[in-house]
Structures are given as C-alpha cells and as structure tokens.
C-alpha cells in the first residue's frame, strides 16, 4: 500500500475506518432528517391541551317549579355535562354526569332512585357514590345554590 506519489494518503486512517466513519455520519444525518419529519407530524397529530380551569361562577341548571322531588336534569356546565337531582327526600344535589367507567352520560332513574349509566349498567346512589356495575369511582360533586325558583350549580367539588 505504499505509494511514493501520495504520501499524504498514508498519514490518513486506513480506508475501512474512514468508510465506517462516513457510514456513521451518513446514518446520523439520515436519522436527523427522519426525526425532523416525524417529530412535527407526531406533534401535529396531538392537539394542544386546553386550559381546564373550573368554570367561573354558577350556571342556571333548572327551576324548582319544573323539578319535583324524585327527578333530575342533565345540563352543560362549562364544557362538560352535569346532572342536577332533586332527591325524593327534597334535597338538591349536582354531580358531573360523566360516568367514571367509560365516560357515557348518566341519567336519573326514578324507578330505582339512582343515577344510571345505560352503556354498561353502572349505578350511583344519590350521594354520587358508585353503587353497582363497573364504575370504579364516585361521580365528582358540584355545589348547588337555590335562589327562589332558580337552582344554580357551580363547578366546585365538595369535600
């Protein structure tokens, strides 16, 4: 391999090592280019998270005159459905209406006196506690304020 005309070549590392270095650099830039494509695509696909602060103030959920004891109504509270219940023993209670099992919207069922999710037969008692079927957790409770005929609910978890 001694070439008298090209002494500079002899001072360089032997070819296989240079080839390996070049392969490595090529691979690195290839990976960099791939990452530069994949990362924005993945980031694009996941939407930015919305600020999830509690909704400010209370919303008018229903009217005393329209909700006799033993009835309930689902209404929007911020971006989420909530449920207001006038219990048979004349108490007002409000909960998140999203079933803690797989996020269907619950309803009040007069016949069993419970909150019921028809998707997988989940049941909650009127304190929001999971009381039958697959739901793993109680429904988060909201605050109820009755002012004359109007019933207001605020997204503040009690307790």
């Amino acid at each position: 391999m001694s070439d008298p005309d090209r002494p500079a070549l002899q001072r360089m590392p032997p070819w296989p090592e240079r080839r390996a270095l070049l392969d490595w650099l090529l691979g690195l830039s290839g990976a960099g280019a791939l990452l530069a494509v994949v990362y924005p695509v993945v980031a694009f696909v996941f939407p930015p998270r919305q600020a999830k602060g509690k909704s400010k103030g209370a919303v008018l959920a229903g009217r005393v005159s329209e909700l006799p004891p033993g009835s309930g109504i689902v209404f929007p509270l911020g971006t989420q459905p909530a449920i207001l219940v006038h219990t048979p023993d004349d108490k007002w209670r409000a909960f998140s209406a999203r079933c803690t099992h797989l996020s269907c919207t619950v309803r009040y069922r007069e016949d069993i006196g419970m909150l019921f999710c028809p998707c997988h037969d989940g049941r909650f008692d009127l304190t929001g506690k999971n009381a039958g079927g697959p739901p793993p957790r109680p429904l988060p409770e909201h605050t109820v304020v009755v002012k004359g005929d109007e019933v207001y609910v605020a997204e503040v978890e009690v307790g």
């Binding site: 996941f46 269907c104 793993p136």
Partner: protein
C-alpha cells in the same frame, strides 16, 4: 365494435404492456378439492363485500358532509331525499356487518385448517391485519352519522382505549383529537375512514392476494383429495360469481326490509339513550366490560379487560409462531381446541348480548 377491432386494441395494449405474459399465472392457478373445499369461497366473498363497501362508500361521499353542523343533516338527507340514498346507505351498513362476519369465518376456517403453517405465516399476518382494519373501518364509520348512538358508542370505545395502561391517555387524545368526543373527533374519524384505512387496506389486501397467488391454496393436513384440482379460471371464478350474486340479492333484501336507522342528533349534554349497544362485532368486549367488576385486586376492572383482550388478540396474531407442532407437520389438536374455545367464548358473549 367487431371482434377483429377488439383484438386489434388488445394487441396494441399487449405490445406496450406485455400483459399476456402473465396469463400463465392465471392458467396455473388451481383450487384443491377435498371435503373442506367449500371454505375456499370465504376469501372471495370477503373481497366482493369489500368492493361493495368501496363502491357504496364512494357514492355516499358525494353527499356526506363531515362536521358537527352538517354530518347528521347530510346523512338524514341521504336517507330521506336523495334518490336511492336509503338503499346505498343501508347496503353500506349491512355489507359492513356481513363483511366482518365473513372475515371472521375466513379466519376461523383458516385457523382450524392450519393454513398458517410455513410458508404461509405472512398470509396469516396480512389476513389478521385486514380484519383489524375492518374493525377500524367499522368503528370509525359508526361515528360519521353523528347521532346519539354513534356519539356514545365512540365515547365508550375511545374510553376503552384510554384504559390501556401507560399509553391510555395519549391514545385517547390521539383518537378524540382532545379530551372529549367533539367535532375534532369526527374530523379525524372521517379522514381515517375514507383515506387512511382505505390506503392501508389496499396495501394489505394486495400483499395478502399476492401471497395467496405465490403459495397457492393451503390443503389442510390429512385432507384426502376428492377429485383433481379445479382450475381457478373459469371453474372456481364462476362458482364465486354465483355466491356474489346471491350475496348482492341478500344485501338488497336486507337493505329494503331493515334500512339503516338514524337516532336523534348527537348532543354531548344529553343522557346516553337507554339500551345502547355497539355494532355486533364489538358485543363480546362490550359484554365483558359490563361483567367485569370495578376493581380486580389493585387494578381497575376496565384496564384488566382491555389488556386481556389485547393479549388474546396478540395470541391470535402469533398463532403461526406458537403452533410449533403444526409448523413441523404434526397434528396439534390442543392448539385447535384452544382456538375453538376462544371462538366459543366470543360467540357466547355475542349471543348473550343479542338475546338480551
């Protein structure tokens, strides 16, 4: 056009493409004959129903308008105002249901006949992948009418994905396009249903069919021939055609007698309707999720159920590599029994939901 002119056109095309060179592929394609030969028609039937889905899907695209303000209204218009819109939409729904059923039967018979033995492992994998895409088509298409049944079915289905340990939350946000099922979800399901999945299906089906062509049809171990193999063209193809004609008649009858329904428009702030159910092919996981307790030891019930179904799915996918005895050409009755037991378990849950 006269026969001579047709021949001239054919000759012109052939001179530029050399297509007639591939004729020997078709001439050489034969279908073995034995007592289980009838199951060979299931693949062709699935293919036919897929074509029906593509054609009716393209027709529906002419009028369907994605978006929460327009999707429900446009589907209502398709079913009510557009000439034969109810027929096209109903056939799309029915054909989808039957397509999944045929794919499942195709898979079950391929499993029992051990068609996944070497060198056909990739044929099995592409086939199971196609079934996965079929379920994805069903799940994404279900939301598109944007009625309340669709809305809550998608809420639940995506929440199930959300129960997967570790990556659940990411998966859920990826599917919903946010934390809740909204117009963003509808937009991505629409894109998935009409662009992403069709491209993937074409690729996977192409590979599946090329592999079938490459290896020929698998003869189950121990099956004795009942006659000489049948030429694919025209003998088998004509028999396929009879089945396809019957299937088309069945679809038309089902569409006329039981047209696709449309519930009330989706309202995220209304309670889920009573008696809500998913499509029939999700009955088994649906019922399993109902029966599973809220907590199993330290784990949440739905996470256990979701992981359980993922493990079962992985076992099915890996069947060619797990059934070592069949790969060596030995009988593997225990493996067959395990597969049939899994099938009976799923079928049992499905029937249970059906009857309740």
């Amino acid at each position: 056009m006269t026969a001579a002119a047709l021949r001239k056109v054919a000759g012109w095309i052939d001179a530029r493409t050399g297509l007639s060179g591939s004729r020997h592929l078709l001439d050489a394609k034969v279908v073995p004959r034995h007592r289980y030969s009838v199951f060979y028609y299931l693949g062709g039937m699935a293919l036919f129903l897929f074509v029906i889905q593509v054609v009716t899907g393209l027709l529906l695209l002419l009028y369907y308008e994605p978006g929460t303000a327009t999707a429900y209204e446009s589907v209502k218009r398709i079913s009510g105002e557009i000439p034969f819109g109810w027929l096209v939409r109903s056939i799309h729904r029915w054909s989808a249901d039957i397509f999944i059923g045929v794919l499942m039967l195709h898979m079950l018979t391929a499993f029992v006949m051990k068609a996944y033995r070497p060198p056909r492992e990739l044929t099995w994998l592409t086939g199971v992948g196609a079934l996965g895409l079929g379920l994805g088509f069903g799940f994404s298409g279900y939301l598109l009418p944007w009625d309340e049944v669709a809305f809550f079915a998608t809420s639940v289905g995506t929440a199930v994905a959300g129960a997967v340990p570790f990556v659940g939350t990411l998966l859920l946000e990826l599917m919903r396009g946010g934390e809740d099922v909204t117009g963003a979800t509808l937009a991505r399901f629409f894109a998935l249903h009409v662009v992403v999945l069709p491209f993937a299906a074409l690729g996977l089906l192409g590979a599946h069919l090329a592999l079938v062509q490459r290896h020929g049809m698998s003869v189950p171990p121990g099956a004795t021939p009942t006659g000489p193999p049948r030429p694919f063209v025209p003998d088998f193809l004509l028999r396929d055609l009879v089945g396809w004609t019957l299937a088309l008649a069945l679809l038309a009858a089902l569409a006329a007698l039981f047209p696709a329904e449309l519930a009330a428009k989706a309202n995220p702030f209304a309670s889920a309707p009573a008696g809500i159910k998913p499509e029939w092919y999700f009955y088994a996981p649906f019922q399993q999720l109902k029966m599973i307790p809220a907590r199993i030891g330290p784990f949440e019930g739905e996470a256990v159920g979701t992981v359980g179904f993922m493990v079962l799915g992985a076992l099915v996918v890996l069947a060619p590599f797990l059934d070592r005895r069949a790969a060596r050409g030995e009988p593997s009755p225990w493996f067959t029994a395990a597969g049939i037991a899994l099938f009976l378990y799923l079928a049992g849950l499905t029937c249970y939901v059906w009857l309740h």
